[in-house]
Each structure stands twice: as structure tokens, then as C-alpha cells.
């Protein structure tokens, strides 16, 4: 197992390098430079100003030199300074935004798995009944309705009309003066709408996946045998079938890891949540190369770690994989 782990971790290094090289090239291939985005169509910016700004950001150097410099900084865990006019360290900007995105997505992920798995199991167990169909309609509505539209409707109903929930942001104004309890309650109130909508929107995919794997497992011979031996239906489903049906879901969980920090641009924009999705979007629009690269590198690391964890879980579950005979 240790050998397998070391081999897998060593393989991550060239993979990560490859990813950074490709993303670096792709971002620089996109039309428009940060300097241009900031000074385009501005009567106050002359060619000399642009040249001065390009020099300041090191954009006057050849691309491979820029990449080399970026990489050598990265090896010291220095993500560089943002090209936005604030010129702040990229890491500071990410640190500010990451907690909220992670908490929001973790809550949504827990709810999503917590709801989708039982829904999927229920649909599989009661396959082709009215309940199954009702569930299908429900989850597909969530899948089909544009989330931004649903979000706006809910904001209007619960925020403007009924006045029950805050519409946007994550804290009320002046909440820094309140006690810890009220501050937490305030945060929870602010998260109700975004989390519910995020969860509702992604319920369909996961629950349908759970349903199909469950149906597949339930048609296996050992389940038939168990039933034939008179094992109670509850035990058949929750002890024998579920354990096997959950295995492929581990992969999905692994894939969900990068989404935890990526956040969602649409969500964060509609609900004015100062998260990573919003930061990334702003970074891309301003061609803020160091910021975009920083977020991408963290995202890539998490994807790789997610894959690694999923593979490790598989390897633990199935010895053939770790011995290379899979």
C-alpha cells in the first residue's frame, strides 16, 4: 500500500506542472492584457503609460521568462501579487474568500448527499411506482429550472414580499456588534437561500446516479440469494446492497472536492457572496494572471488530491488495484 501511495504521489508532480504550463499558456493566449483591460479607451492613458504599467507587472519579458519566474516563486509557495490596482498578494486575496466558499459548499454538499442518497435509494427500491415517478419529476424540475431564475423568485418571495430572509450578502450591517450567538444565527439566515437553491439544483444528477447504481446492485445474484434465504428486506437493502452501491459514489465525492473552493460564479454573483467564484470571475475579466493562476493551481491540487483519495478508497476496498492487477 505504501509503495502504491508513493508512486501515485510522485506521479502528481509532473501532472501538476503540465497543468500549470497549459493554463499559463492558455490565459496568455486570451486576447487582452491586464494593462490593456485597465487602460483601454481611457483618454488619460498614453502609450508611455501602458509601457510603464507593462514593465511594472513584468509583462514586457518573454513568456517563458514570465513562466519561469512564476514557477520559481511558486516553489517557495509565493503566488505573487495581483495585477489588479490593489497589487495585493494573491494568497491574501484567496485567504479572504476561501472560508465562506468552503463552508457554503460543504453545507450544500452535505445536504446534497444527505438528500440525494435516500431519494435515490427510495426511488430504486420503489422502482416504477408512483413514488418513483413523483421523485423523478421533483428532481428534474430542480435540474431543469434555471437556478438564477429560481434564486430571484425565492429572493423576491422570502426577501421582499415576506421579509423573512435576507436577500444578499452573508452578514447583516452592524452584525459585528452582536453576540456570537446572534452573529451565527445571522450567518445561518443568510445561507438559507443560497444553500437551498444550490442543493435543489444539483439534487437530480446525484439522486439519479444513486438510483441507477442501486437498481444495478439490487439485481445482482447475491441479493436474490439473500432474499431467498429469508433475510429481512431492510437488511438486504441497507446492509448488503447499499454498501456496494455506495462504492461508485466515492468517486463523485472525490470529484466534488475542487468544486468546494471553485464555488459558483452565478450563485456568488446573485447572492453577493464574496467567495472564490466571484474572485475568479473578476480575475479572468481583468486578465489578472497571478490571481487566476493561483486559484487554478489550488483547484488543480484539490482535483488531484480528490482523485488520489478516491483511488485510495478504491484500493482499500479492492486489493487487486493496489497490487496493479486491476
Amino acid at each position: 500500500m505504501a509503495n502504491y501511495l508513493i508512486k501515485r504521489i510522485l506521479m502528481l508532480v509532473p501532472l501538476l506542472l503540465g497543468i500549470t504550463l497549459i493554463t499559463f499558456t492558455v490565459i496568455h493566449l486570451a486576447p487582452g492584457e491586464p494593462v490593456e483591460m485597465a487602460t483601454a479607451m481611457s483618454p488619460k492613458a498614453s502609450a508611455a503609460t501602458r509601457a510603464r504599467l507593462r514593465e511594472f507587472y513584468g509583462l514586457d519579458k518573454p513568456l517563458h521568462v514570465q513562466y519561469g519566474m512564476w514557477l520559481s516563486n511558486l516553489s517557495r509557495l509565493d503566488f505573487g501579487r495581483s495585477f489588479a490596482p490593489d497589487n495585493r498578494p494573491v494568497l491574501d486575496k484567496i485567504k479572504e474568500r476561501i472560508p465562506i466558499t468552503i463552508s457554503l459548499n460543504v453545507i450544500a454538499l452535505i445536504l446534497e448527499f444527505g438528500l440525494a442518497l435516500p431519494i435515490g435509494i427510495m426511488a430504486a427500491v420503489h422502482r416504477d411506482t408512483l413514488l418513483d415517478r413523483a421523485i423523478s419529476v421533483f428532481v428534474f424540475v430542480g435540474f431543469a429550472v434555471p437556478t438564477f431564475w429560481l434564486a430571484l423568485l425565492c429572493m423576491y418571495l422570502f426577501g421582499v414580499k415576506l421579509g423573512w430572509l435576507p436577500i444578499s450578502g452573508i452578514h447583516s450591517l452592524g452584525s459585528d456588534q452582536w453576540s456570537f450567538f446572534w452573529r451565527s444565527a445571522d450567518l445561518a439566515r443568510h445561507l438559507v437561500l443560497p444553500v437551498s437553491i444550490a442543493t435543489f439544483g444539483s439534487l437530480a444528477g446525484l439522486s439519479r446516479y444513486m438510483r441507477s447504481t442501486m437498481i444495478e446492485v439490487l439485481s445482482q445474484d447475491y441479493i436474490t440469494t439473500a432474499r431467498a434465504k429469508g433475510v429481512r428486506e431492510r437488511v438486504v437493502i441497507y446492509r448488503h446492497a447499499l454498501k456496494n452501491a455506495l462504492l461508485p459514489v466515492i468517486t463523485l465525492l472525490g470529484f466534488s472536492l475542487p468544486a468546494l473552493i471553485g464555488g459558483s460564479v452565478i450563485f456568488e454573483t446573485i447572492f453577493s457572496i464574496p467567495g472564490m467564484g466571484q474572485l475568479f470571475y473578476q480575475g479572468v475579466m481583468a486578465r489578472d494572471y497571478p490571481l487566476v493562476m493561483g486559484i487554478l493551481v489550488i483547484g488543480a491540487c484539490l482535483t488531484l488530491i480528490g482523485n488520489l483519495l478516491a483511488d485510495l478508497c478504491y484500493a482499500l476496498a479492492d486489493p487487486r488495484i493496489r497490487h496493479g492487477r486491476g
Binding site: D86, N87, R189
Partner: protein, 527 residues
């Protein structure tokens, strides 16, 4: 903790939170003398010379002062400068600074601060987009703490307005690297509001400066909330989460007309400092013929565009100035006006005749071009569609192409690879047109990208910026408007209206040519 217990706890927390004792219930509807405004964008840097976005300047405008500023009628008046004189030859400006002004940290404001601001702006190491106007300065001196003098190589009329640039505190910045200064997130100014906090992605908070030289502002706190989505901001406005925002024409005309809304809010409407235009690539033979350009203008019904796109919330533009300002000529004799029959005649004079499919032709080539505009601006796209429809009626085939901003600039504008563009300019308070219209500004990445070359216009622009005599300047700009109307290098389309809405809790708002924000420190809440 098990999942069930966490969920129970959250539900409990939520139920308690809905109770009447919750602090947000107490706070609601009692904004006090706190003023909350919403903005789509977040400021980038609060050292004004390092930022060029409007959010940064919204905040800087309240934290800092310049030497001069525009009053409510858009005339220059003293701000940190009590008075100034321009030498008879127009080369020297001497500012007499206000005494007793203090920085928010208690230091005295003096001419040293002005000199520092000038020096750091023109310093090649400072990454600023604002050095150009200051580079015209030949020398700058601070003979005593309350006098500041600048000398120019030749008279430069926009110079005075350029001293509206916010003045930075020398005692905090001198000898330090301005790009790494803490002031970029924590500014110290002389303005009516003191910076309090900045919660990234959420809000900035300012507090009234009790010792402000004009008197303390009436509104005790100014909160600048960052709400990146316009629909969300509108809902926040209705729910009482923000006190002011700019409405879109649809919101102004259709969604905010109910009595219930009008009882809670006051809507304002006045011309914005911007115009939208259709610009032609004058390097193309098709557009080199002035008759074709005039014909296009004649064929376009600008009033219809204003009704269709802005729901009437704007006015026809004839030239590059805002109606009502001192350089604006209200009646331009050469303006073609809407006249489709005249358009047809002009095109015929230019040698075009009707070809197959109802499209005009000359030498076997159809009169056809593409209007390019940027993505994300629905008004411009609609405008292009109306133009397309109108031009089709006189036999001109128009295609529309919408592009992402960066590739639009890099791949098409900068390379001169466009036929016509539908874009807009902000109108600066000083009427100098050098950057956009002078023939020396046709180089790569410069603003005269349509390549309009007119020696007479060049002469008038240079003459206009070379004198401080308002009457002479006005004369130049009136002539310029006639030339532009005659030549139609752009078809100037419209000047949209600014449509701010403010909660009726706030009193003391006085709409003027400068908008509503000019007397912000006098706004108050009725007790």
C-alpha cells in the same frame, strides 16, 4: 456530531432567529443617519492615482479633496485651494491653499502634500494612468506652506481641472513605495468622511469627519455595499437593504411607478455624462465619401432609438458634449436630422443605384457593412438592430457582430479591422477633445481609431486647449461641433439619462446639472 443533530441545531437556530428579539428586526426600518448605497463593482485601490475604476473614485471622492472641484453647475471652484490666479501669459498657476485643513490623522494639510502628489504622479516608477496632464507641467514649487505654483511650457486650459486630482498625505507616503502602501486599503484624507472599514467583497464603511472644513456631514455613516447583480440590488432596494441605486430605463418606467414605491422613494432623472455613437472606419473607401456618412445619419431615426432602447430616457446627441453644459451648442446648423428621402438622394449623388434584392450598389459592389459592438451591453445591441432596420429601408445592408470586450479591442479596434462600431464615450467635464479627435491620436491603441483627419479641427482643438479665455474656448468648440456635424465621422446617437433613486427618508437632495451627489454632505434624515 451526527448529521441529524447538526440539522436540528440549525433549524433551532433558525427558528430562534425568526423571533421578535432578533437584532435585525430591531434594526430594520431605523437606518438612522446611516446611508447605504449599492455598487456593482468593488473598489480596487483607495490611493486615487493607482485606480481608474468608478467604484474607487466614488469612495476617494468622499475621503480626499483636490485643489479644485466642479460645483453643482459644473463650474470650477476652490476645494483645498481657497483661490488661484493664472498669469496673464497663461503659463503660471498659483494656488492659495486653505488654512486650518487637517488630515484625518490630525496632521496639517500644506503645500508639501500638493508637491508630493504632483511628484509621485509623474514619477516613472508609479503605475498610474493619470500622469499625462501633469507631464505638461514644466516646474512645480511650494514657496510657502500655503502657496503652490506650477509653470507650464505653453498655456494648457485643461490644467486647472487636472488639479481636481485628490491630494495625498505626504507625511504618510513620502519616501515609501506607494504601490505597497497600507493607504491603498486604509486611506487617510482631508475629505468629509473618514475611512472606517473594508470587508472585501461585501462593503466599505465611512464615518463623518466632525472637523471637516466645510462642516461635518449630516449623515453619520456611509456604507458602500458591493452587490454585483443589478436585479439583486433592486430587490435589496425594495427590501430596505440599500438607500440608493441607479435604475435602468425599464425599472424607472415600468417597475417603480406604483404609489407604494413612490411613497418610499424619490426618483431623479437628468442627462448622464456619456453618449453613444455609431463610428465609421474612415480608412475604408466606402466611408470616405461624406455623402454616404450623412446619408446614414439621415436614415437613422434617433428619436425612435431613444424611445425603443431607453424608453424615452435620454436625448438626441448631435456632438460630443452634454446638453446644457457651457461648451454645448444647442442648435447645430449642419446637423442632418432624420430624413430618409434625403438619405436616398445623397446615396444617389454618391453614385449608388438600386441593385438586386433591394440593396444599393456601386461599381457592382453592394453597400453593405458590419456594425460591431461589445457583448454585455443590451442597449447597444438593440440600438444596432434598430439602425439595421432603418438602413435596410434606404437600401443599405447591415450585419451585426457582438464581441467580447477584450477580443473586440485587441483583434479588431487596435488592428483597424472593423467597418463600423457602436460604442459610447464618457463626457469629461473639461471640453478638450484632443485625445479622441486630434489627428495625432490615430496610432495603435489610441482613441481616434476611426482615423478622422481634419487639419481645421486639429487647429481648433489646439486653440481651444491653449487659452483660459472661456469665450474664446466656447467659440472653438462651437465651430468644432459644426465641423463634426458636417463631416459625420460618427453618427452621434444619444445622451442617456442618469436615473438614480433614493429612499425618501433622506432629505436635502438638490438636483443640479452636476447630478445629485454634489451636496452629499448636506443630505440629512428627518428626525
Amino acid at each position: 456530531m451526527s448529521l441529524a443533530r447538526t440539522v436540528c441545531l440549525l433549524v433551532l437556530l433558525f427558528l430562534t432567529a425568526c423571533g421578535k428579539d432578533a437584532p435585525w428586526n430591531k434594526a430594520q426600518g431605523q437606518g438612522g443617519s446611516q446611508f447605504v448605497t449599492g455598487s456593482i463593482g468593488e473598489p480596487s485601490n483607495l490611493i486615487p492615482i493607482l485606480a481608474s475604476d468608478s467604484s474607487s473614485s466614488d469612495i476617494s471622492g468622499l475621503v480626499y479633496n483636490g485643489l479644485v472641484r466642479y460645483d453643482k453647475n459644473l463650474k470650477l471652484e476652490g476645494d483645498l485651494a481657497e483661490s488661484w490666479e493664472v498669469s496673464p501669459d497663461g503659463l503660471k498657476i498659483t494656488f492659495h491653499l486653505r488654512r486650518g485643513v487637517k488630515w484625518h490623522d490630525g496632521h496639517d494639510f500644506t503645500s508639501r502634500d500638493v508637491l508630493y502628489t504632483y511628484r509621485v504622479t509623474v514619477d516613472p516608477k508609479t503605475p498610474t494612468a493619470y500622469a499625462e496632464d501633469f507631464k505638461q507641467v514644466q516646474s512645480a514649487q511650494a514657496p510657502d506652506p500655503y502657496t503652490f505654483r506650477v509653470t507650464y511650457a505653453k498655456p494648457f486650459a485643461p490644467a486647472l481641472a487636472s488639479w481636481g486630482m485628490p491630494i495625498l498625505p505626504a507625511h504618510l507616503l513620502e519616501g515609501k513605495d506607494i504601490t505597497k502602501s497600507a493607504l491603498s486599503r486604509n486611506p487617510v484624507g482631508t475629505g468629509p468622511y473618514i475611512f472606517k472599514e473594508w470587508v472585501p467583497g461585501q462593503r466599505l464603511v465611512l464615518e463623518a469627519y466632525p472637523k471637516y472644513w466645510e462642516g461635518a456631514p449630516h449623515l453619520a455613516r456611509y456604507v458602500y455595499r458591493i452587490i454585483p447583480d443589478n436585479s439583486t440590488m433592486y430587490m435589496e432596494l425594495k427590501a430596505g437593504g440599500v438607500d440608493m441605486m441607479g435604475l435602468s430605463p425599464v425599472q424607472y418606467q415600468r417597475q417603480t411607478t406604483r404609489e407604494e414605491f413612490l411613497a418610499r422613494f424619490n426618483k431623479y432623472r437628468y442627462p448622464a455624462s456619456a453618449y453613444t455613437y455609431l463610428g465609421y472606419n474612415l480608412r475604408l473607401p466606402m466611408f470616405q465619401d461624406v455623402r454616404v456618412r450623412r446619408a446614414i445619419t439621415c436614415a437613422i431615426n434617433k428619436e425612435e432609438i431613444i424611445q425603443g432602447v431607453l424608453l424615452g430616457m435620454g436625448q438626441i446627441a448631435h456632438g460630443p458634449y452634454k446638453p446644457g453644459t457651457w461648451a454645448y451648442k444647442s442648435k447645430v446648423d449642419n446637423d442632418p436630422g432624420y430624413d430618409p428621402e434625403r438619405a436616398k438622394e445623397l446615396l444617389q449623388e454618391a453614385g449608388y443605384h438600386m441593385g438586386a434584392g433591394g440593396i444599393l450598389e456601386k461599381d457592382g459592389k453592394p453597400l453593405s457593412f458590419t456594425i460591431m459592438t461589445n457583448q454585455g451591453n443590451d442597449q447597444r445591441l438593440k440600438c444596432a438592430q434598430i439602425i439595421q432596420m432603418r438602413l435596410k429601408k434606404v437600401g443599405i445592408d447591415v450585419k451585426i457582430r457582438v464581441m467580447e470586450w477584450a477580443s473586440f479591442l485587441t483583434n479588431f479596434i487596435d488592428k483597424g479591422k472593423f467597418e463600423a462600431v457602436l460604442l459610447g464615450w464618457t463626457i469629461s467635464q473639461d471640453p478638450d477633445l484632443y485625445d479622441v479627435w486630434h489627428s495625432s491620436k490615430t496610432g495603435p491603441k489610441e482613441l481616434n481609431f476611426i482615423h478622422y483627419l481634419n487639419p481645421e479641427l486639429d487647429r481648433l482643438i489646439v486653440e481651444g486647449r491653449g487659452t483660459f479665455d472661456m469665450a474664446k474656448r466656447r467659440d472653438c468648440y462651437y465651430k468644432i461641433q459644426e465641423i463634426l456635424a458636417k463631416d459625420q465621422p460618427y453618427t452621434f446617437l444619444y445622451v442617456p439619462d442618469a436615473l438614480p433613486v433614493v429612499t425618501s427618508r433622506i432629505k436635502g437632495i438638490e438636483p443640479a446639472p452636476a447630478g445629485i451627489m454634489h451636496n452629499f454632505i448636506k443630505w440629512y434624515v428627518e428626525q
